[in-house]
């Protein structure tokens, strides 16, 4: 019944009422008579708007009024039996909200498009800040070591050529000189651990020296020293006059004892000389002195091969007067052998 009522009156009376501003009012846009009456019943249309629908509308009004009442009754039947507690609900909601302070945030009436833009702008600003941190801090703190060392590399030494080793030496294992400094001031004889003596090292009177070897084949060996005074002294064999025959294998020279340096101050060069044949100390001494005089008594720069013998290694040391020896040094003989107290040599890495 109601459907037929709507269809029969839907095309009647198109009103063109306009308000004072020239814009058509909402009542004028309502095309049908029933719509205006319906809006009037819902208090959405004024009495002036109803003037255009005519005066004979009591029937329609009654029908619409009854329809509204019926709808309200039905909705009232399914309404909630009890009113909710808004305060409790708000407390529950408040616990789920992000923060209390944001409840009273001032509204800026910004359209949603701009609010989204601001959200993205925050992210972009954060990204730019992180990038700036990376640019400013990381290069200062983590500079490459080579860049730091570049200004200091004013002089680069040429790469030293590998020394030609005699064929009879141990395969890849030269004869090494070891030394140990003495602890000055100690009431007992105390020494530092043995160290590999390299050319140019500083030693002191009273320090101990020893030689270690590893030979693959037997040979004749002699270790002598030449100081700045032109004095040649045989360390191995100690005060010997001729070379010693050393069998293949590992060992130390002198065996189970060490040598204590004398009170001489200045540069001193040690010569480790090997040969497949027996040789005498006199010949060696003369050869070394001749060479020393030939090069203007210079111990610092010494040619590798100066004689018919093979010089396995030549080591230059500088003796400094750091302390005086607590022991009585006999003037003659020049070198003394320490008491029967072998060094506790530590194996040095190759």
């Amino acid at each position: 019944m109601s459907h037929s009522l709507h269809t029969t009156e839907s095309t009647t009376d198109v009103t063109t009422d306009e308000n004072t501003s020239g814009q058509p009012s909402r009542e004028s846009k309502m095309n049908t008579r029933n719509e205006q009456l319906h809006a009037y019943l819902d208090q959405e249309c004024s009495l002036q708007g109803l003037q255009n629908v005519g005066t004979d509308h009591s029937c329609e009004l009654e029908e619409l009024r009854s329809l509204n009442q019926w709808v309200q009754t039905k909705f009232a039947s399914i309404s909630a039996p009890h009113e909710p507690n808004a305060y409790t609900a708000f407390q529950q909601l408040e616990a789920r909200l992000p923060s209390r302070s944001s409840l009273h945030e001032q509204t800026s009436h910004i359209p949603s498009l701009f609010s989204g833009w601001f959200k993205w702008m925050h992210w972009s600003l954060a990204t730019v800040a992180v990038a700036l941190c990376i640019i400013w801090f990381i290069p200062q703190n983590q500079e490459h070591p080579s860049l730091l060392l570049t200004p200091q590399k004013t002089h680069v030494e040429p790469r030293t050529q590998p020394t030609k080793r005699p064929l009879f030496t141990a395969k890849g294992f030269p004869i090494r000189m070891l030394h140990a400094h003495r602890h000055f001031g100690s009431p007992t004889l105390a020494f530092t651990p043995a160290q590999h003596t390299r050319s140019g090292v500083q030693l002191y009177p009273g320090d101990l020296v020893q030689f270690s070897y590893h030979l693959e084949e037997p040979l004749h060996l002699m270790i002598v020293s030449l100081n700045n005074r032109g004095e040649v002294f045989p360390f191995v064999p100690f005060r010997g006059t001729e070379s010693i025959y050393v069998k293949s294998g590992k060992g130390t020279l002198p065996r189970n004892i060490s040598l204590k340096l004398d009170q001489y101050i200045g540069p001193e060069r040690f010569f480790i000389i090997a040969s497949k044949e027996y040789f005498r100390y006199k010949e060696l001494q003369e050869t070394l002195l001749t060479q020393w005089k030939r090069q203007d008594k210079d111990l610092i720069h010494w040619p590798e091969h100066t004689s018919k013998w093979s010089i396995v290694q030549s080591i230059l040391i500088y003796k400094r007067p750091k302390y005086s020896s607590p022991f009585k040094v006999e003037p003659s003989p020049k070198r003394t052998v320490s008491p029967n107290n072998p060094l506790r040599m530590q194996p040095t890495p190759r």
Partner: protein
Amino acid sequence: MFDFEAFFMCHYKRLYGMLYQMLGNSQEAEDIAQEAFLRFHKHFSSIYPEKRKAWLFRVAVNLGYTTLQTRKRHRNWSQRQVLLAQDAERTPSTVSRMDVREALDTLPVRQAKLLYLYASGLSYEEMAEALGVKVSSISQLLLRAKRAFKQTYGPAQ
């Protein structure tokens, strides 16, 4: 300064009432009302002040209708009996209630939403804003919805 608490106190009862009319379950109505207010709190700074109420009810009615559709999809006979029994504990006219809701469920979505919003007391402008239609067409749409509702309910009655 926008007082969210005052806004909540002003509109919560109406919102809850509309959702209860839609769902017939107080717990679900409270949950969806809370969810709607949560979403409103998240976005209220970007909503024009005159459209806040409409925005809130639009979100609520959409959430409620989504719940209705989900429930309808999963409802079987036993659940219907349970709902019927729950309603029977509260009011004597349980059959009438179920029929009203079923009649509203059979209406087109826009008409049903319009009726729920109308029953909750929104003005024509607010209903138009909530449904995204012109204000001038609300009266016509609402009148059609009311008549369709009565026609749908009539045979059952």
